[in-house]
């Protein structure tokens, strides 16, 4: 496991995931749309001849860090499995059964943490798992899908992403766990965190390029004054004509 966490992705898998991330969002086509909002400033990803992709934003190294950081969730899964099997196992009360009975709590005890949503990832039967454990069975399935498409020619990564989301890739059986849609949603979620969380290792302003393209100015370490709010209000009023 430690080797896996030191280097969670193979070079081939990194390339595959980089391409998949590109197909997931279509950032390059987006920023080149004629009618799209154009943020102010001389932005390097908008320079002539540049292609704007998730790779520019260092999303895959960020993803690898995420796999390492959340590996401890498996321990929590073990704990929750023990509590689920025996919900009163860790009670400090000396006679918890009679305590419950006295209080009219006669139903068989249950542990509801997964259903309450205070967990991040679960397997098919509701056990809490880490990102690494979630993704590990996905990698060979993804490779199978990509290999099959490569045999047919150049891979259309946008189409591949859409097919995975719709559980329509024949090489990823619908009986597999997790299904391809669950994989794609989780991977896209992690990519969103990489692109909008503004903590990836890409240099400024690349780290928050997607936010800038959205017109979102918020970023770690930002600070403003009432002059900024005053100017923004004036601009709003001018735009609204009020």
């Amino acid at each position: 496991m430690s080797t896996q966490l030191d280097d969670p992705l193979t070079p081939e898998l990194r390339d595959t995931l980089t391409s998949l991330a590109t197909g997931l969002f279509g950032l390059d086509a987006w920023v080149k749309e004629a009618t799209k909002y154009k943020p102010a400033g001389d932005l390097p990803w908008r320079a002539l001849g540049h292609t704007f992709t998730p790779a520019d934003l260092a999303v895959i190294p960020f993803f690898e860090n995420l796999l390492r950081e959340s590996s401890g969730d498996d321990d929590l899964g073990v704990r929750w499995a023990a509590v689920t099997a025996s919900p009163l196992k860790f009670s400090p009360l000396p006679n918890v059964d009679s305590w419950r009975k006295n209080r009219g709590l006669s139903n068989p005890p249950k542990f509801g943490i997964v259903k309450s949503g205070n967990v991040w990832l679960t397997d098919a039967v509701g056990n809490v798992i880490s990102r690494v454990t979630f993704y590990t069975p996905c990698w060979p399935l993804l490779k199978g899908v990509v290999d099959a498409r490569r045999k047919a020619g150049a891979v259309d990564w946008a189409l591949l992403a859409a097919d995975l989301l719709a559980n329509k890739a024949p090489e990823w059986p619908n009986t597999a766990q997790p299904p391809s849609s669950a994989f794609l949603v989780q991977f896209a979620s992690d990519m969103l965190y990489a692109m909008l969380g503004m903590r990836a290792s890409a240099p400024e302003p690349w780290r928050r390029a997607v936010s800038i393209e959205l017109g979102e100015y918020r970023h770690p370490g930002n600070e403003y004054t009432s002059r900024d709010t005053g100017a923004a209000v004036k601009k709003f009023q001018a735009t609204a004509g009020i």
Binding site: L24, R199, H219, T229
Partner: protein, 650 residues
Amino acid sequence: MEIADFVVVGSSGGGGTISWLLAKAGFKVVVLEQGADIAQPLEDTLANPLDANGNIDEESLKYNPYSHDEYRFRLKRPDTKRRLRGENNNFSSSAAVDAAPFGGAWTASVLGGGSIIWGTWSFRALPIDFRLRTHFAATGQLHKLEKEWGYSIPDWPVSYGEMEPFYNVAETLLAVSGDRAAVNAAVRNSAWYKQFSKLDYFRKAGNWQPKFPFPCPPYPITPVGDFFWKGAEAAGQHPVPLPSGMVAPGTPSYKTRAKMQEALKFARPGGSFWKQSAEKIWSDRVRSACNLCGYCGEYLCWGKEGPKSSSRFSTIKELRDLPNAEIVTNAKAYEVIYDARIRRATGVRYLDVSDPDNPRPFVQRARHVIVACGAVQSARLLLMSGPPAGLGNSNDQVGRYALFHLFGLGITATLPQKFQGILHGEFGHTGNTTSFEPYFVKDDVTKSDTAGLWWKAGTMTSTAKKNPLENADGKLRGKSLIQRPLLAAMEAYNRTLEVRLTADDLPMASNRVDLDPAFVDEYGFPVARITRNFGGNEQLMFQLVESRLRKTCDLYVKKGILKDADITFGKAIVDLIGDHQMGTCRMGDDPATSVVDRNCRLHEVPNVFVVDTSFFPTGFGLNPMVTTVANALRVGTWIAEQSKRGNELD
């Protein structure tokens, strides 16, 4: 501490405030907080704001972006700032339906509690909020409300007048930014006020036009706030800057002691504690001004010296200076120890969950116990304590009359593409401008017997969209959007704002918290079961407020900026139980119908107090923080005074 005078369970606006006052009054106080001190890294990384000469070192007040992390503070699970990792509440909309685990009804589980992650909307209640029963009796609506709709609407045992000097101090501790004259005018000019202020009981409910100035100037208006301001004005409303519990941007560093001096000079609360000089009451600590960074609601404020007000950065900091006070974090209380022979509590049992896999049980003995864990968890703790029916619960009142406000009630407007990048949702906290116009709403919609009468609602406030990652993740997971449709949704979010109504839900006995018969937490304790549904007044609100909310956008519709289709109305969601939880330990004079007396002391166990939002007999339709802090000051003052007079509290 072997035996404390007071053990206080919880450290938010209620527990954090009263523990400070009692320790300052000389009592031995132990605070038990089940969560960790998530603000500690700020203190570890920034220098002391006072240099060797006692002058303010401005460099040390610069921000620390440690907490500027949307994933960590809003998405990550387990969300341990909200609740301990193995905790949940259960929810049911009816006693006839089995309750199921859900994610709501938590404020926070950190040192400082909900005051760490709150939205800072800082309203004091209006005088009529303390006399709602009198009001509806006078208007002839009480029969409908109580006999037909099943509410139980009491007057508060205390009046606005009793609370007023403590409101002044509470606003001082919370460094509230605002414009008092504007708030007074907004209230005075509201249609409901004009209607009712002619009536004697209404005028006499209290001081409708307080003169105490807010300790900080108004928070700057943002584009989202301006949108609402102009729209509300055009609709005949009287918008004001939202009173906010933050040191206003651009103001000099906030000196609580000096502000306290002004508050005491203005109106000194009764009791010997407040006869002391401000120097005796408060240290020379300074707080830094807000830098509008925008990581407020749900986040830990960037500032070591608390630009955003919380007990953690005010009273708890002061408490830490005192040798007779102790704060224990990661202390999950699970029983108020009750001695049936003497009908008194003798302390609190808790688990040290610093290492949650290996919790260690402890007992903190004390002469008095103060429960302040939030309305849901306070009821749960009392029901897990004492006799099988629960502590202070002989009359089956603990947990009843739970109040949560109407969350999610409002309109969402998405502006056209030319507004991309214009709204600047990142400025400051979520709310910005507000209106008291819908505090009471006249039924001009239905043709039923409610028509023509005024019903209780709350305030209408502009709210910005501040969490683009959370929105994008929600669109991905909830609507399976990827590629251009996802990017389009992310773009639209930047041009979207809300006008949100924070409205009352009136008290019903059937809306309650009790112990779930089946579900337990990690340590085998029954979780809280919340049964809650909307009554007739809330249902009526869904019909009455939509047109009023939409009217605030009429200006923009007329200008062709918005189309009706760009504006969506959202009713409150019954299990969207937000950060405002109140009731469950109702304050009243009659033990048969209430849990605590006017001094927040259990009717049945005289050395146990409940000093958070649980005591609220009604919920105002306003953020409860200012009232919670003011009440904690009031009760703490009473306790200190009784002790000084030699009266045994127990």
